[in-house]
Symmetry: C2
Subunit: 454 residues, 2 copies
């Protein structure tokens, strides 16, 4: 291994060379790396360069670092992929490689920074925070969210109408109850869209009607025809198709709401992950009185925190807050205060900068692996988020492809489970939870499954 002066930073060169050595199999799974001190001496660089490179490759999943032990090449590399994917019983075992969409890599959760925020929260909280509190949430967090969402997502947020929730699922349940109390009943939902999200709305008493999505997002002209009370959409990054609502459609949707007294429920679930250009701002910023804005930390930090928020128009604020109070009297307070601290200190921005790099690398690796193993596939929805879409030839049996992949030890997921009306076959490939070394092998396996089922 040799680092060249002038060919990019030494750290970047070292990272690249190590990555290539692992991908190419020259560094086998389980192999111990030299200590950072020894390698630094050998390469004639400062030890910090090696420490940083090891840390980056650990974050990407190539290396496994354990305190007090040698850093090793991770086990899920190509070397371990030779075990044959036995059919039958294999379908019941957890997959070797899992392309499940809809979540971040929880091993990247910033435990140390979160603990620091918890410590400050417990140190600084007034006693009154430990008592029954405002059902909207702690004032510290509502203020911090208003600033963060205004700065990062262009949301026009008054802390008075921010409601902290225990995640998006609860937010939708509360909103459904508030909408019913207001007399609303019909909610138009993107088709395809998250199946559990729709179930949450209908379980809480709303009538869910489908609106097709094309390359420009939700078809607003269909909304006009259906005349619902509310439209539920993810304008910045549609799930699962990954498209962005086109500017003229955004304007048309706002116009629809303004003319008819309708409401827009904006799901801004993973807008922070956009890799190739700046994220589109929230629709809410254009028409705060017509939009309920909803988000959470489930895609950026961890679903287990169960922390989300809504910014609600005045017209529905009282009913939403009453629903929250009746549901659980408010979200647990200590982690609210920790999130307030985390936001105010810029820790979420720092975490997003770091993880955006990790996920971009994984996305690039997945796109490259698909072009190698399944060159006829054209990935869509690659610009943002934690998953991409692969449209299959129309005659492909999506269910058969998924079943075949499971037999080969690959967790593979399709579009049809999220559709309300039948549509052409497609795969959803989440790269949030799968590390780079696994991506290439996983892509080879899934290509085999597609070919076998075709």
């Amino acid at each position: 291994m040799r680092l060249q002066p002038g060919a990019g930073s030494r750290r970047a060169q070292l990272e690249e060379q190590l990555r290539e050595a692992i991908r190419g199999g020259r560094l086998a799974a389980g192999a111990a790396l030299p200590s950072s001190r020894a390698l630094a001496r050998e390469l004639g660089v400062s030890r910090g360069v090696v420490v940083d490179a090891y840390a980056q490759l650990s974050a990407e999943g190539y290396l496994v670092a354990r305190q007090g032990a040698a850093t090793r090449v991770a086990g899920a590399g190509p070397a371990s992929a030779s075990s044959p994917g036995a059919a039958g019983a294999a379908a019941d075992r957890p997959p070797r490689f899992d392309f499940r969409p809809g979540g971040p890599d929880v091993s990247l959760f910033p435990r140390a920074a979160w603990l620091a925020s918890l410590r400050r929260a417990l140190r600084d909280a007034p006693d009154a925070r430990f008592d029954y509190g405002d059902p909207r949430g702690a004032p510290e967090l509502r203020a911090a969210l208003a600033r963060y969402l205004g700065r990062v997502r262009g949301v026009a947020a008054d802390p008075e109408v921010v409601v902290v929730t225990s995640g998006m699922a609860q937010g939708m349940a509360l909103l459904a109850r508030a909408l019913l109390a207001r007399g609303a009943r019909r909610i138009a939902v993107e088709d395809p869209s998250s199946a559990p999200g729709r179930e949450q709305l209908s379980a809480n008493g709303l009538d869910v009607v489908p609106v097709p999505v094309d390359a420009d997002g939700l078809q607003v002209d269909v909304v006009e025809r259906l005349a619902p009370d509310v439209v539920f959409a993810a304008p910045a990054h549609q799930f699962p198709l990954g498209v962005v609502l086109a500017p003229e459609r955004r304007a048309a949707l706002i116009d629809w709401a303004a003319r008819t007294g309708g409401l827009i429920l904006e799901d801004d679930y993973d807008a922070e992950y956009r890799y190739d250009r700046a994220p589109v701002g929230a629709v809410q910023g254009l028409a705060p009185e017509l939009v309920v804005y909803a988000g959470s930390v489930s895609k950026t930090l961890a679903p287990g925190l169960r922390l989300g928020w809504m910014v609600v128009p005045e017209s529905i604020a009282a009913a939403t807050i009453a629903a929250k109070a009746s549901d659980d009297l408010g979200t647990p307070v200590v982690e609210q205060l920790a999130l307030a601290d985390f936001l105010e200190r810029g820790e979420l921005d720092r975490h997003l900068r770091r993880t955006r790099g990790v996920y971009r690398s994984r996305r690039d690796a997945l796109v490259a692996a698909l072009s190698r193993h399944l060159p006829e596939a054209v990935p869509a929805g690659v610009a943002a988020g934690l998953h991409l879409v692969v449209h299959l030839p129309p005659e492909t049996d999506e269910v058969a492809v998924l079943a075949r992949a499971r037999e080969r030890g690959i967790g593979l997921y399709g579009l049809s489970e999220h559709r309300m009306k039948p549509g052409p076959p497609a795969l959803l490939l989440g790269y949030g939870r799968i590390t780079e070394p696994a991506i290439d092998v996983g892509a080879a396996e899934l290509a085999a499954a597609v070919r076998y089922a075709a």
Copy 2:
């Protein structure tokens, strides 16, 4: 000040003398105490004796200790009570002395021990805990709760049927939905009982019917006549009357459930606070298949944590878990893991031992103050909990007493807001949130309010 050999421990003597000096006004509000070192030298005792006494009196609210500054006599002592309670606008201001029942003293929340548990939780949690999890809650906490509730409350708890909730309010909402799904509709509720609790049940679709409570608790013969689907009761410490369900009534209630296929919903909300004898075990331990057992940390640690639990019979487990999943996918995980650690390390027992002493002193001070200022009153429900009941002469206008007290700057609460059917006048005096120095003045003021309104 002089400590006598043989007249109780030196620490206890010192505490008592300081307490008396503050109560009697010899040590005025705001007065600085000598340093622990100086006072120890003066009294010829070890410094630890003085440090412990200062700490205990700080916990009781007589002293205010600040790191790096002199320990001072707290401000709410008798000296500040001379300001006249102006009528009118005074009723809108926060009360000078607040006898609000239903909560602990949140200033006693064990911040350092809780932070230590959070630190261990973040250090030890498997990555998977940060992902979407079991809607019942983290397995670590369900196991720890099963052990704790079995040991301390005699609950027969299998971790498989423990459901972690975001507090009692959510628990009741979930249960109401699960009961409706099972076809249950009528729920018999103790009269009087917590008004918000009843509203939670009826807001979620149940028909609430009242059952009177006497000195032996819920009148089970009335339950037989009403033939409800479910009975909601607090057998260990009835709210608000403070009575215990008599052994023959416990047996009769279980017999009713077994004969009719009814369910018992056992609210064990503050059973840990019993001062004069061992707490009564939970009814659930006698008939786990007939009882839904529910509790929370709201009275023992802090309502702001929003952490509770239910132990549910098999017959209703699936519906309850489905309601929880549909409500919020599960309670936030980090504080669940912290509570598991807190329970397993005996920290809750330690905290209860400490706070039980504080609350017992407050209760004793309140009983003594009532006998001084309102000798005709006989306090009831004094053996347990964080409040007691004072029955007023039948002709007293309870509403007028409360209003008069508010004018005098006293937060006073009556029984009538918790009654379903009208009944004789009574006061609920919470001593959880009021420090000892404030109790005597507060009792004098409330006695004046009672006399004025009579």
